[in-house]
Assembly symmetry: C2
Homo-oligomer: 403 residues x 2
């Protein structure tokens, strides 16, 4: 088999951990597989580079920031290649450009446009282990970086370009769970989830895998495996819905702990108020989640939405600025909320799922303050202090702890 | 004018110093010049990378060591480019490969084979300041490094490829002196020296400029200037002998403080003993300097040579190993020696120079233990404790403190 393995910053956070990663690669080779490895920068080395830049200027140029940050992954690829060579395994480091990773000509959050896999396939033919720097590529001769989740995306894109048999993402958790095991004692590791479920789970605060990497895997139908780099436990396979028999109605429960709700009352419907409001929030990089709009009365609406609690002060300041332009009556806000979501590919054909969730929430006294649904997800905003009890109640209600 | 400026590790050792370098480049630009800048890695960052590698393996692969070390210069180029941009000066960082620096396919100490200057000339046409990573290039798609003195050499080679008007080497001293000013109070900064003199001075322990960079400058006739990055003092111009009128007989006095002498008595002349001996020393990376061979008697010779005092224990161990093969009688060694040298392009046509030096040494009671001469240099090995007095005596004797 041809396997692409990706190791995150924690997995290569020290020389000792790099040695452990090398041991794991040696084992994979010994089992007869070809291996391409994608690595992130060591632990907090990226933060250290960002700090250096901040001592030069408060507004670093994006091209130079990319040139600077890309060195972090180059260091870990070189060290890992050395560690393999000292174990008598043939290995070479590859920067993004050396691995043929071409991105759009954007700095800081470029998307991969194309991979020319020849350098890697040639090296695999020589029976070597190719160690590729994640998170980076090249565009118009300049080094670019891929932004958040970039190394996961690099691994998936390389797996697609090489038609690899699978792409293993090594991280500090050992798979995808039916709920956060720190909050829900009966949570169970899932042997398999669909791309779509994983996307919803990823977007819902389950930090296992970046949504962008899942999307890329789904588009190219790359079989993904999430595993722990600190244990030999089997991980979770993320694959196409069609290859999974017997879709579960509900696969898992996810949470977002610190959420705030903002309600804007009496928004006048002249001059596209919603576009103006959410456009302004997006310009400030404020992530808006659940959006609810009331019924229109007398050319006015009430709009409410959730944001990360940490963003609330910036939202309130921004709304003060926008008030004359948008022409609303009043702003209300509420902190101390959480979002709880159920995700499941089988939900599409099961209309009773939302009702069952509301029941499980009411059973622990949690009032549903907002609801949002998609084809494979139901999210409810509730009081934060009831979150843990709610998670367990919903988890039990759908019997997620049982195989 | 088109000026290439090179800043060493000390000059870019901290964000504050990088800011100072940016200020100096802004001044050069304001004076109407085009600028290409070559930088080394920040301060001790290369040592930190070497230390990281040593925690992975005691025998790091040379290709990966190059990939690792090359990141040091990439960091300083990106930071300097940011610093210039924050001063509203258009600037771009270039790695070795981005600057078109092609080397022989050797790792650790590659020589530059060719520079394709198009990326740099294109950027100069756009009126930008190109910031190039020193010490690195590319060969067969892999990153290579140039070894010691690499950044100086990069600067000179780029100046040659771009037909720059001059190449300024910024360092922590403000020029080339007639003697070490810390030891000889009357030492004077030289406004100009020839490539040949600088080569001898560089080889004789004057740490201002690496001999390799001087050789490259001589070969391509690049006008070099050595200046301090911490002051505005005029530096020393290093140029072709033919452009200098009135060659000085003696230009400067150089020293090598800690030298040891090794004498091998009764070396049999069978089986090429000298090649065997010095080949073995070279294989161990032991630098041998002055070599003196006695007259051959009864197919035996005595050979003596100097090494750095720090290398002496390794030399003695090695000679023990070599004894059966080389078949000599006895090894003597002496520590606590120094080498004092005079250098001057005008020496060629002045036979009395060596005699005048011996006289100046005898005047302070220094016994000459070994002598070696070249066309523009006389070196004498003397007792270390007399070095400072000897330096001053020789410096005075040739009136080097006077214009």
């Amino acid at each position: 088999m041809l396997i692409v393995q990706k190791y995150g910053g924690t997995s290569v956070g020290s020389p000792q951990r790099i040695q452990a990663v090398a041991d794991r690669i040696v084992k994979t080779r010994a089992a007869g597989h070809q291996v391409v490895v994608v690595v992130s920068a060591m632990g907090h080395s990226t933060d250290a580079l960002v700090e250096l830049a901040s001592q030069i200027t408060s507004e670093p140029n994006a091209r130079e920031m990319d040139a600077l940050l890309a060195t972090g992954e180059q260091v870990s690829t070189a060290l890992l290649a050395m560690a393999l060579q000292s174990r008598h395994v043939k290995a070479n480091s590859f920067t993004g450009w050396q691995a043929g990773i071409k991105t759009e000509p954007v700095h800081g959050a470029a998307r991969i446009e194309d991979i020319d896999p020849r350098a890697l396939t040639d090296y695999l033919k020589e029976d070597g282990v190719a160690i590729v720097a994640g998170f980076q590529g090249i565009a118009l001769g300049s080094v670019t970086t891929l932004g958040r989740g970039g190394s996961d995306t690099t691994a998936v894109a390389i797996a697609a370009a090489l038609h690899a048999d699978r792409c293993e993402i090594y991280t500090d958790v050992d798979g995808v769970y039916t709920a956060d095991p720190r909050k829900v004692p009966s949570a169970r590791k899932l042997p398999m989830v669909s791309y779509e479920e994983m996307l919803e789970l990823a977007n819902l605060g389950s930090q296992v895998l970046h949504p962008r990497a899942v999307e890329t895997a789904k588009r190219h139908n790359v079989a993904l495996v999430v595993r722990s780099s600190f244990s030999d436990a089997e991980g979770t396979v993320i694959t196409d819905m069609s290859t999974m028999e017997g879709l579960r109605v509900v696969t898992g429960v996810a949470q977002e702990k610190e959420v705030a709700r903002v309600a804007i009352l009496g928004v006048s419907l002249q001059s596209r108020p919603l576009a103006g409001l959410f456009g302004a929030l997006a310009d400030e990089n404020i992530n808006v989640d659940v959006i609810v709009q009331s019924i229109i009365r007398e050319s006015e609406v009430d709009v409410s939405f959730t944001v990360f609690e940490a963003d609330l002060p910036r939202v309130i300041t921004l709304l003060d600025v926008l008030k004359p332009q948008l022409g609303f009556r009043e702003v209300l806000h509420e902190k101390g909320l959480s979002k709880i979501s159920i995700v499941g590919a089988g939900m599409i054909s099961n209309p009773g799922v939302a009702a069952q969730m509301f029941e499980a929430l009411e059973a622990v006294g949690a009032q549903v303050k907002m609801v949002s649904t998609s084809e494979i997800k139901v999210s409810c905003v509730i009081e934060q202090e009831l979150l843990e009890r709610a998670l367990n109640s919903v988890h039990d209600s759908f019997a997620l702890g049982k195989e």
